[in-house]
Subunit: 460 residues, 2 copies
């Protein structure tokens, strides 16, 4: 086998860093389940026509073909629709909802943590294969607004639970499509989607260029463009932000019913967030989310101090997640870019695992003939939930201790001599050198040494 | 969106059945970590030349292409080696070992639980996308035999841990390539691999046809073919099986050094298994595993009473898992076909989850104006690890109770009246109808209702 290089855009972790990733995944799952979300997993592939319904992502899709399409058995001919790897978890979820609509209870709360694939050019924080963690609530026919308040707060709690391992705080930026659209219409701009698409570029190209685009692409006057930028400049984490928007709209004679509806919703979200996740949620009127299907709240999330990484958790409300022609399924959801997050905290040294192996105890072997004694000790420890392994060879004890040391295994167990030594022996904490007599049927390591822990790194 | 049908060969579960699958995965992970295996996850794709090294699986590989290969930016030209989805976890693990050899401690113990893809024609128990759960120990340069004893016993323990949810018992069938090869050579057959390939067909086509093939394809005489079938007929779960093989070999004057080495190894495995997993491991001399790279122990596993499902856990010893030209990495490992297993126990009604949602408590809503009181109750319960959700609407209580009932949520919480009701309220067990006053800051459901449990099904 020739020299092997990593594939750009397909991240993989060493065991120690995988422990960090696994901890993040476990924490998300635990939080989502505490809030009553059911876990589902969909297949990795969807028919291409499903994946391409939205058009704009077409160039990102990986298409599958079998290496040897077997013409002789007619299999190729039966594969009417080609398959592609899903590029997010929303498209497969929409399909899953339609496929199982008769068997799911609505409103249906689900979480889904899986890999997705995009054939994009890899760059920092942007991968070709990465893990997403999504929560959505989807209704049959209708879906009350309060879920738009609830879901970002679930994510706030999930991120909060990760603070203790060293994750920086997050800021969840929220906006409401009805506010933006109501305002644009109020000042006389009809192509709200077009305006949003330009506003979405603010962070990248700056206000002057956005104003130019609004004039040239969306038919705005200079004054209208200025008003759009003024709206985009409003942000805040309490109800004053609502007053600021209303004042701006009034100064332009632009108060519409749609704007008032949106402001009412945004205010409810801000007020609830102030109480339940103080300091986390910020109304930011420039948040546009370029995607056409959002119809109410939209969300983006930045890691404080790592804003240039982009959003690590985004989503919003969509009135038509799916439709079978008779019933329409509205939804609201958010998606965490887990790989982007883990990549940053691992490579930045923000978070680390206390060891790279689950093993808490290495059971030494006196002689190969009495390996069974060591196996018995290991079985006794494991029966009480203590992860352990038996030394690979009856080498000098110094070498066996080095085996443990290289792996970060904190304890080495020395069985008694002879074939019938039983559970009595002695155990050494190889960090302190302390060694004590112990019985494998009763001894346990300190709780903090039982499993590898995920803790803030030295770079924190 | 048009009518949607499932894709054959790509299994998906409803939330209730996903809980069963998740429990199986959690149990495997816990067992593997108790035995000191580090979890890793590799990317889903490998370069095609890696995937095709073994030749015979070529027709099963799904090849990837980007929908729009962008000629203009030269990306297509840079993709020198096409990518395919991995069809097992051994090929990616071998590549991972080589890629990270300098950073891994050897012998390296790893588990890996991921989806794999094969473009095979789907049939019962055979999928195009499925989950495998692998454990392997890989050494640098050498790897002692005792790992060939240890690894099937780890799997025996994992299956044992699944017995309590209603999984039928398993039988792990073991053989040793050295025994077979030593015997074949002893009776004068040199093409041991060819003979093994025919013996592997015994269950499918029967002994007469295998004898014919041995004569026609492997150059065996009638007597030699008969001797091979006699060896394949031997099985047993104690040391007597070793004596039976030796007696057969002696009667043919076929005792070779290789045979004796193999018998010594097989005996060590059988003796250890008798002690540590009584009744689970059976030496079965017809187990061949068609794959050329096994060099010592080989393993297959059947679910007792479901033998026609085929092996649910297979593997063996390979002297060359990987090699970089200088160092060779021998290994031993087994792989559980999780989807095959879960599909059988779920669709057969052998195992079931006590409910389809994680929610233990539905917090009712008195009025939409006082939804915040219900949110407070839910937060208080969650802060003590009790999964709950708040009712979707302030409907009649009867309707809110039906919402819980349809999901299998055992408890409904009724908050006190008014905006400042606080944590006091009452909680109803909707199965028994019992309702008691309770405080959300102290009340907890019985432990068995806290999370959905996975239990034997009615068909058990």
């Amino acid at each position: 086998m020739a020299r092997i290089a990593p594939l750009s855009g397909f991240p993989e972790w060493l065991p120690q860093d995988r422990i960090v990733e696994q901890h993040v995944l476990d924490t998300l799952r635990r939080t989502f389940e505490l809030h009553g979300f059911s876990g589902i997993e969909t297949r990795a592939v969807e028919p291409l026509d499903q994946l391409l319904r939205k058009g704009e992502t077409s160039k990102e899709v990986y298409v599958l073909s079998r290496l040897q399409e077997e013409a002789d058995d007619g299999a190729a001919a039966r594969d009417k629709s080609q398959l592609g790897l899903h590029f997010d978890l929303t498209v497969p979820f929409a399909r899953y909802v339609l496929e199982n609509a008769g068997k799911l209870p609505f409103p249906f709360r689900r979480y889904q943590i899986q890999k997705v694939w995009r054939g994009e050019r890899p760059q920092e924080g942007r991968f070709r294969e990465f893990i997403q963690a999504d929560i959505d609530v989807v209704g049959s026919g209708d879906l009350p607004y309060h879920y738009e308040v609830e879901l970002p707060l679930v994510m706030a709690e999930a991120f909060g639970a990760l603070r203790e391992i060293g994750l920086p705080p997050v800021r969840i930026l929220v906006n409401n499509r009805k506010v933006a659209e109501g305002f644009y219409r109020g000042i006389g701009l009809t192509d709200a989607e077009g305006v949003l698409r330009q506003i979405d570029k603010l962070d990248k190209i700056g206000p002057e260029k956005v104003a130019e685009l609004l004039v040239n692409e969306c038919g705005a006057s200079e004054d209208q463009a200025k008003a759009c930028l003024a709206l985009a400049g409003i942000s805040g984490s309490d109800a004053s932000v609502i007053r600021d928007v209303r004042a701006l709209a009034e100064s332009h004679g632009a108060v519409t019913e749609l704007l008032e509806t949106g402001l009412g919703e945004l205010e409810a979200l801000i007020v609830a967030a102030e109480q339940r996740a103080p300091g986390v949620v910020v109304a930011d009127l420039k948040i546009a989310r370029g995607l056409d299907y959002y119809t109410g709240s939209v969300y983006e999330t930045v890691l404080v101090g790592h804003e240039q990484l982009g959003s690590v958790c985004s989503g919003g409300r969509y009135d038509t997640l799916a439709s079978d022609g008779k019933v329409t399924y509205p939804g609201v959801g958010l998606s965490i870019g887990v790989s982007r997050l883990v990549s940053r905290i691992v490579s930045g040294g923000l978070v680390t695992a206390t060891r790279g192996v689950p093993t808490a105890v290495l059971v030494a072997v006196n002689t190969e003939e009495t390996r069974g004694v060591s196996d018995d000790v290991a079985a006794a420890l494991r029966s009480r939930g203590i992860p352990c392994e038996v030394a690979p060879a009856a080498a000098r004890f110094g070498k066996q201790i080095r085996y443990a040391d290289r792996r970060g295994i904190p304890f080495v167990w020395f069985p008694g001599e002879g074939d019938d030594a039983g559970p009595a022996g002695s155990v050494k904490d190889i960090r302190s050198g302390d060694q004590t007599d112990a019985d494998a049927s009763t001894w346990a390591p300190p709780a903090e040494d039982l499993h590898p822990r995920v803790v803030p790194g030295s770079a924190d």
